[in-house]
Symmetry: C2
Subunit: 286 residues, 2 copies
């Protein structure tokens, strides 16, 4: 089995690692515009061979894990050159524009639109880890547009990675993921910014920060190169979530100013329900 990883970073690299464990005979080819990443991936044996688009005709599976703004240009090019029996998967955090980019591509049936919801705040080949996807959710969009036997091949891979599958349309995916993922990143980045700005002259202050701050601000370590295009592609949904978040913060501040501490108690008490909700989230934290 010839597996091509286009974009050898955290996501593509972690998939490569598990696929190699599950299929010892698989040959993993890496394609990346970043020559250092290719060298690094070869040296840590994340990939077996360096490759280019010219080699894609021998691919059985192609996993494209590049920033979503690059994805909309590269995905059609990959489809152009793969053979009729190859399945091409993406791993983008947005789905509408990506699905749209290949909606009328002659090889649309070779593509399966995926969003494996997994990751860490780290990036690059050295961030790749085994079992990143075990117990995690993989959202598949427009499954009916993919050739049946290619769906099957992809689902076998995902099953061995330990993922559970959910099917959605691209618009619903982008709307809901804005709440449960994109907004978290913005809230975390802005929290980091607020504290760094205030305390820039008082580095000692971070001695006061406990694991609560660390947890809340963890996503502010994420890659701007990955996240800027996500916010761009999902702008309308992200702005909506951000509006609601800002309104809630303003209402909380207003209660503070009015000494409405009963209201503040009730607000926090009803949000405590997040405990039961989170118990349903499969976690696989490192």
């Amino acid at each position: 089995m010839n597996v091509f990883i286009v974009g050898v970073g955290l996501i593509g690299g972690s998939m490569a690692k598990d696929i190699k464990v599950n299929n010892p005979n698989a040959v993993i080819y890496g394609i990346d515009t970043n020559e250092k990443h290719i060298e690094e991936a070869l040296s840590i044996k994340l990939i077996d061979k360096k490759a280019s688009y010219d080699d894609l005709s021998i691919a059985d599976i192609v996993i494209i894990s590049v920033p979503v703004d690059v994805m909309v240009f590269e995905l059609p090019k990959v489809l152009d050159v793969v053979n009729d029996d190859a399945v091409v998967l993406d791993a983008g955090s947005t789905k509408a524009l990506i699905c749209n980019a290949v909606a009328s591509h002659p090889k649309r049936r070779n593509f399966l639109a995926c969003h494996p919801i997994a990751g860490t705040e780290f990036s690059g080949p050295s961030a790749a880890i085994n079992d990143l996807f075990r117990g995690k959710t993989n959202i598949i969009c427009e499954v009916e547009k993919t050739a049946f036997k290619l769906q099957e091949r992809a689902l076998t891979v995902f099953q061995k990675l330990g993922m559970r599958i959910r099917y959605m349309n691209p618009e619903a995916h982008d709307k809901h993921i804005a709440y449960v993922s994109h907004l978290s990143h913005i809230s975390s980045f802005m929290l980091g910014k607020t504290v760094i700005e205030k305390e820039k002259n008082e580095r000692d202050i971070f001695d006061m920060a406990g694991s609560g701050f660390e947890s809340t601000v963890r996503l502010a370590k994420s890659s701007p190169a990955m996240w800027t295009p996500i916010f761009k592609q999902n702008k309308a949904n992200v702005v909506e979530t951000l509006d609601e978040y800002i309104q809630n913060l303003k209402a909380f501040k207003q209660m503070l100013l009015e000494d409405d501490f009963e209201g503040i108690y009730n607000e926090m008490n009803s949000t405590n329900r997040i405990k039961e909700i989170l118990n349903g989230i499969p976690l696989n934290k490192k």
Copy 2:
């Protein structure tokens, strides 16, 4: 050594556990208005005996770990009845009003104002764990107002718990802790609220939430009974941090609306510095 824990929950209970390990001959007395907590603490051997304020005259060390609004009333009463050689410690997340409450107390020299910056999002006696404080920071305020030999006794306890000590004045503590702790809790509670409100009719959506959301929203599991009085006592500082946070979120939204994605990239890129800052934070996560 007679150790009294007033408020047998996560913090007091965790201290009791470690003190018992470090001093096997210590007798741990528990005082709590919640009879169920006392029974639970006895049954899991967190405390050796149930006690009342009448027993405090035999105390060598008293650790008061109750919500900060209760603290300002109970701390003076505890000082009223301890003997001249007892050291009384608090564990409050605010310091100015607590220090103020005993500023002119005749036994002020028996009190050491502390904020051990440690915890989890859980509460109650069953949440108590060993080694919660190892590697964590303990802020001590107005150390000069405590009798020298009582400072020494307290520091020996903290040293055995594995804490590092920082000295600050109460006002500086309250100002900076608003940034590195109180604001994180509000950002997390409001994130939880925003997502729950939006998705209340679509519980399946939480299948889409990954570990990033879980991490960012973790503090929204915290106890409203503990946090409402903290926000009340530190209102001025908390409102200031919240104002700056809301301004930063609005500026981010504005950049989105104006398609200023270079600005968004730069914003996230400069906040990535939080990585190095966080590397300085001692973590002891469960």
